[in-house]
Amino acid sequence: MRNLKRQLLAGPYILWMAGFILLPTLVILYYAFTTTSGNFSLLNVTSITFSVHLKALVLSLKLALSCTVICLVLSYPLAMILNNMKSKSQGFIVFIFILPMWMNFMLRILAWRLLLSNNGVINSLLGALNLPGFDILNTPKAVVFCMVYDFLPFMVLPIYNAMARIQPDIIEAAKDLGAGNITIFFKIIVPLTMSGVISGIIMVFVPALTSFAISDLLGGGKVLLIGNVIEQAFMQEYNWNLGSGLSVVLMVFVIASMALMNSHGDEGGGTFA
């Protein structure tokens, strides 16, 4: 009896989530599968096969994948180095790598626009040294650059946390049994950090795939990602049905990529345990 009463405390939360998660999802599905006049239609969803939309989706997948791979390659050694520093300053050094994450997302984009632009800081420095400038603003490269900068902490932190949880005894035992550093790395460290890597990949890949602000501000209108197509459908063309249809397609890709990663994660954890 008392237990049931306690369960009721979740009531407001359940109502809130029904009203502001479930209901909006139903509304977006309604728009996605109807025409402006309210008739059932699959056109909004199938319009992803139009060449403009398809190109945007493919580019988004490509950029999100490059961003995720770069983040992973940068983060793994970084997490290892941070974890190996068994000193008093460790907390402080981890803090240093979290701090930039706390600055407003938009301002981090602003900083990169400033650095990368034609007459920006990097090119001026290169020019002063009589080196050839590089012109990557308004290209997909600039977008990936900024995505890596924005999402890197989301990769570093889960991997670092997974590494910090590895018991030093296990590594000691492996050494006693004659394992070399390379064996230890592949047989112990990699499998035990797999869960961190998986959640890092999800936390970088999903926002990279769905972002529209970075490509808008650093792509100069030339880098059209699926997020930009959706944003323009809503804010410029006022075609809510098309925008909803494409959003649903995007959701399917997000869910599919997560399902894919999670199934691999279970296998990785399973083989070791």
Binding site: M17, I21, L99, N104, L110, P207, L217, V254
Partner: protein
């Protein structure tokens, strides 16, 4: 020895990658020249202009209001929810936990758009809709921070208090509350952080004339960059630095980290 120096260099390179852009913003905020790369002498002009710019100040106050209010309401709803979920068993609990993860994993743009589509059916977009949207994506952070603390808290002490004649409310505040308080606080802070940094959800759910810092900077950047934005960056960076220093290095946080 060799390995150590390679590690040092690697850390330095990443450190530069992370902080060079911020450093540039800070330096330019004191630069008395509209050109990006010419040093025109030290000035506080951009800071003065920033503080006299009503649009920026309004966006600043809106941001603070939305993040504090949404974090507070989310903390209340989320803590109650965690208490309720903790009392559940079996399938009901599994469903609740699964449902709590959905908003965390959903793409921001889709969350924002779907809420906007709902809001325009029933009301006008404005400050309220932004607040509701922020509360919605904030609650799960609170729930997920409080639940583990509830699991660790001792149920028997609470029941003993009841047996000794305490009312459930009295027993809760004397026994359970102090044990879950760290989780409630970290949930609140996490919710506030997420709210402060949000762009996509605000962008779609805000009404005309309402701006948080994120959406205001976005609009400004589409028009071109004004040096006041550098001053704003510097101030926000300093606030983040101070807050994070305070949170990480207060004595309580130290103790917690030592015995996780």
């Amino acid at each position: 020895m060799m390995k150590k120096s390679i590690e040092r260099i690697y850390l330095l390179v990443i450190f530069l990658f992370l902080y060079l852009p911020i450093l540039v913003l800070i330096v330019l905020s004191f630069n008395d020249s509209k050109a990006k790369v010419v040093w025109g002498g030290f000035t506080l002009r951009w800071y003065r202009e920033l503080f006299s710019n009503t649009a920026v100040m309004e966006a600043f106050y809106t941001t603070i209001f939305v993040s504090l209010a949404s974090a507070l309401i989310a903390t209340i709803l989320g803590t109650l929810a965690a208490l309720g979920i903790d009392a559940m068993r079996g399938r009901g609990k599994a469903i609740m936990l699964g449902a709590t993860n959905i908003p965390l994993l959903n793409a921001d743009i889709v969350t924002g758009i779907s809420m906007m589509l709902l809001f325009v059916r029933f009301t006008r977009l404005g400050l309220n809709t932004v607040l509701i949207a922020h509360i919605t994506f904030n609650i799960p952070y609170v729930v997920l921070n409080v639940l583990p603390k509830l699991k660790q808290s001792s149920r028997t002490t609470y029941e003993a208090a009841l047996d000794l004649g305490a009312t459930p409310l009295y027993a809760f505040f004397k026994i359970t509350w102090p044990q879950i308080l760290p989780g409630v606080l970290s949930g609140f802070l996490m919710a506030m952080t997420m709210s402060l940094d949000d762009f996509s959800v605000t962008y779609f759910t805000k009404g005309a004339g309402i701006n948080t810092l994120s959406t205001m900077i976005y609009t400004e950047m589409r028009k071109g960059i004004r040096p006041e934005m550098y001053a704003l960056s510097t101030i926000l960076f300093m606030i983040a630095l101070i807050l994070l220093l305070f949170m990480n290095f207060r004595p309580a946080a130290r103790k917690e980290r030592k015995n996780p």
